[in-house]
Subunit: 270 residues, 2 copies
């Protein structure tokens, strides 16, 4: 199977490395030259891809709009599998399924990452133990879904989850996008000045992802805007419920509110 990874950032680079670890040969492509050279010089890819029609599988590891543009502007082999790895899936499906395609599209979302970006942070074990979400909805190509499931296991993913784009986007608004929003909001506080030394593990955890690139995340947020907005609203309600109990000064009421959060967590943490 001839594989190409288009887009050599931390995710694309790590996909290439995980595929090479599983003994596949991997070609690479990137919009700009430097990451491509880095990938070649550091043995992250085996060769630079020129003609995408040569490949049986193309991973498109680009942001959502760039991924759609790449897929629309290039030609792929008849029946080839083309897989994107974007953090929003409804938008991708809407764009890809607008017209008939000669290739088999499949949406995936590797649930791993770091608070840093770029090919120089790629590593072969980034996905070890992580979940891989594969979109298997009404329009999905069963062969492509199955291929990606098998390949994901070979790349080190521990759990393969199949769901619709709609379910993905709803869950991800809560588990991932909201976390990034909270981290960004948390640090925008005048108390942060001079608070070094007053911080423990809980502050570190809360702010680890506060430095992520807004150019990447703003696009993801907006393409899932309605669902993410609902989640922010829901969190604000829960925060205000605690604030109201706190302002009321009634310890039993405050304990009751906190207890219901803790119990919801314990019931669902698995």
């Amino acid at each position: 199977m001839k594989i190409c990874v288009a887009g050599l950032g931390i995710i694309g680079g790590s996909l290439a490395l995980a595929l090479k670890r599983a003994e596949y040969s991997v070609a690479g492509w990137n919009r700009s030259q430097k990451p491509l050279e880095y990938a070649l010089n550091n043995n992250i890819i085996d060769e630079a891809a020129a003609d995408f029609k040569k490949f049986d599988l193309v991973f498109v590891a680009l942001p959502p709009k760039a991924a759609v543009k790449f897929i629309n502007e290039n030609e792929f082999k008849d029946g080839a599998v083309v897989a994107d790895i974007c953090g929003v899936k409804g938008y991708l499906e809407k764009e890809i399924y607008k017209k008939p395609r000669n290739f088999r599209y499949v949406g995936t979302h590797p649930m791993a990452g770091k608070e840093v970006s770029g090919i120089e942070n790629a590593c072969a074990n980034l996905f070890d133990g992580a979940s891989m979400i594969i979109i298997n909805g009404e329009k999905s190509d069963i062969y492509a879904v199955q291929l990606l499931a098998e390949l994901s296991a070979e790349m080190g993913f521990k759990k393969i989850i199949e769901c619709s784009a709609e379910e993905h986007d709803g869950k991800i608004a809560y588990t991932s996008q909201l976390a990034h929003v909270v981290s960004n909001a948390y640090v925008k506080n005048k108390e942060i000045e001079g608070c070094l030394g007053f911080t423990g593990g809980s502050f570190q955890d809360m702010t680890r992802i506060a430095g992520v690139d807004e150019n990447v995340w703003a696009e993801l947020y907006l393409l899932n805007g309605e669902k993410l907005s609902t989640q922010i609203g829901s969190l604000v309600s829960s925060l205000n419920e605690i604030k109201t109990a706190l302002d009321g000064g009634d310890e039993e009421e405050l304990k009751r509110v906190l207890k219901s959060g803790r119990e919801t967590f314990e019931k669902n943490k698995g």
Copy 2:
């Protein structure tokens, strides 16, 4: 120097272990019998304390109201150092300085902990690399502050921070209490059902402390209620600022809002 740790939970137990590691002999006391027996059987303390007047240093590792009660109801050696480890300091000072004392009071806050509690989770290296906050305000006893600073370094703390109770309570409302509130609010969401597999590191970080004991934290929150309430309000404002930009659908405006959060973080993360 004869040392006693009163209150054998995770913090008291870890203080005892860190002191023993530094070759001090440590006596222990607890309100209930079981943790005391556990501490004796597992060599966490050297002996059970009977008469607190025997000790040169008494660590009071109890929740705030219980700590004040313990200090008021017991007698200590003239000039002994009595140190509490509570997460709120203004309340402690107000209560302790209500009347003249024959001992030297000092407020401390070891900036380390776990999402679990109890003596069975105590460990000698809990404070290694952490910050120790020591209250050094207008009424503080310089000898007690100095003793605790020296001892903290011996116990493995990396950074000793001296500040007023007022500054401590303001900073801690933001760096610690708010993080616990956010984690509790984050999990109180109907999306949490069935979201296993859709979670990555950012969700794990955001929710690690969601299961802490509300009986411990409600008291801390209420004793620092005004400052914590202000912090919750400030976070809600920042969240709503992002939500407004998101709802507006303007990518440049959303990037601007997110960028100002990221830059504040980067300027202050040290």
